[in-house]
């Protein structure tokens, strides 16, 4: 299906579920972006679940979002359980505005939901000559180091900064060996996942995505990844006044209440301490890119570069939607 038609379909569907034109548009842009960067697990495949959450009133279609400026740099947003994309969109724009004004933007969003790819928001800041950290927590997926029960989400660390060229440096890396969305997608497509990425509910290694989803994902680098996932839970959940400590509900399996997810966005100007930032970052990146490569590697990519290449390619193509998914969406529009 043509990209513009997919976008229209998403907007039409969200509007059918009572989202405003503006909010539907924000959501569609985020989902289309996920498709175009190749993160299909965060793309249109999730539309039916979002609609179900709205229908079950665990996403608020008509949120009364409250914005409170604590200082010219610091802002607190209560998203009133709006769909995650909307709270995050407002949050990153607010952080960008504050950073442009004072050098620093520091924005906490509470009562929000799953917002898709962190990199999508961080990239928006980096394209405006700003650095950005985006933190968000997620439903239990990773067992803390030493525990045999999941508690932390995949809790990505996301950082972006200008690269001196059109494609920003965007690192968006979950703290699990594999993204939960990829496991979910493997399950949906009937594919296996590699061993060593997850355990079943009894703590045994598994390559079955369904068992992995019921079991535990393994953190990267044992106690290190576990500690980093814990940090993200504290920053996004404890600190912002949102759910934490394993209380975030799974957006696709648990419709018993809102997610109350938190986000923390820290944004700052690239040239706070140096006048020639662009020159410096270009030197840095070219240094790394020009290192001798290991066998079989043709090019060293900086984080975000790979996704940007996929985006460019995919922008010229149509978006592939399975017939199953399409009929599910059509059904939603008839309900």
């Amino acid at each position: 299906m043509k990209i513009i038609d997919v976008k229209k379909l998403i907007i039409k569907t969200f509007k059918k579920f009572n989202l405003s034109e503006k909010h539907s548009n924000i959501c569609a842009n985020a989902l289309i972006n996920a498709e175009l960067v190749g993160a299909h697990s965060h793309g249109i495949i999730r539309l039916p679940s979002y609609c179900k959450r709205i229908k079950k009133k665990v996403i608020n279609a008509k949120p009364k979002i409250k914005i409170r400026n604590i200082s010219q740099s610091i802002t607190n947003i209560d998203a009133d359980n709006a769909i995650g994309f909307v709270g995050a969109d407002l949050g990153i724009n607010c952080a960008i505005k504050n950073a442009k004004k004072t050098g620093l933007g520091f924005v906490a969003i509470k009562n929000s939901g799953h917002y898709g790819l962190s990199g999508y928001y961080a990239e928006q800041a980096a394209k405006k000559n700003l650095f950005a950290f985006c933190f968000t927590n997620a439903p239990p997926a990773i067992a803390p180091h030493g525990a045999k029960k999941t508690l932390f989400g995949t809790n990505p660390i996301c950082f972006a900064c200008p690269s001196g060229n059109k494609v920003p440096f965007v690192l968006d890396t979950s703290m699990s060996m594999i993204n939960r969305g990829k496991i979910r997608r493997a399950a949906k497509l009937g594919k296996k996942i590699p061993y060593g990425f997850a355990l079943d509910k009894n703590g045994k290694p598994t390559n079955d995505p369904a068992k992995a989803l019921k079991g535990m994902q393994l953190p990267i680098a044992e106690f290190r990844g576990s500690g980093l996932a814990w940090m993200v839970d504290i920053l996004s959940g404890v600190f912002t006044g949102s759910n934490h400590g394993g209380k975030v509900k799974d957006p696709f399996d648990d419709f018993s209440g809102p997610q109350n997810i938190g986000h923390l966005f820290i944004v700052f100007k690239q040239n706070l301490f140096v006048k020639n930032y662009s020159k410096r970052i270009k030197e840095n990146i070219s240094k790394v890119k020009n290192l001798p490569k290991i066998k079989g590697i043709k090019k060293i990519y900086y984080p975000g570069e790979n996704k940007a290449e996929r985006f460019k390619l995919n922008k010229k193509k149509e978006i592939n939607i399975s017939l199953n998914l399409l009929s599910e969406i059509n059904l939603l529009n008839k309900s």
Copy 2:
């Protein structure tokens, strides 16, 4: 040797090498802290190298440090190649002061040097009811993902926050499979390191610490750890106006010039967005600690807890200094 006597010896030695009483004291506190938390690789074993750097004039014993306040939150420090501990001590105190005033402290330090353990500085903020990120870069140790040459330092991610009890949450985790100091210590003690942590200079796996030091350390979680180490290089080096892209000199092997290392400290108030932070963080930590444990695990520790336990134990003991090291230090005091 008694702790107080080790401290006196360190102060005496640094003063012999022209550091002021105040700066010698700052350095001694940092080195003693490293010994007491059990990070011996960052402790008194490094004293002779620091003295050699001062003697070779690549550490400035009498720095003219410049402090420039960009706003009430943002400060830029040029450490004039002071010993790293001094620049970092000033930086964290400045970040704490700014955060207490405005909620946010954001401090970049350039022309600094190796400052020991990041956690030592972050912990100081956490003990004052503040959150802290401490970033610093380091000499080449890790090969970027896809490259067969080292460029990134072990570049730790360090984060601390109050835990609701006396021992703060302090995560201080290098982006390499093993800390460089531990390899160095293994080499000094004639011990092996585990396979899978490092490659020799030809890219072959090795358990010989001497070969590992000349070769490459492996990043955690492949491209993820590589990306995070890159992020730390950008934040500490490119952004602050310091060396980056593999230009930071090894403090113990390369006396051809100053290190020009950069640090970035981001500090903020625990209660910016919630009134009951202490209650919330206590709940969070107790949730994790009370999870069912895997076989052989008696207790789940939060980051920093283990080190604090060692600190408490070691504070009652003497510090073990090898005769070799002691005679080396005595020689320095006679030179």
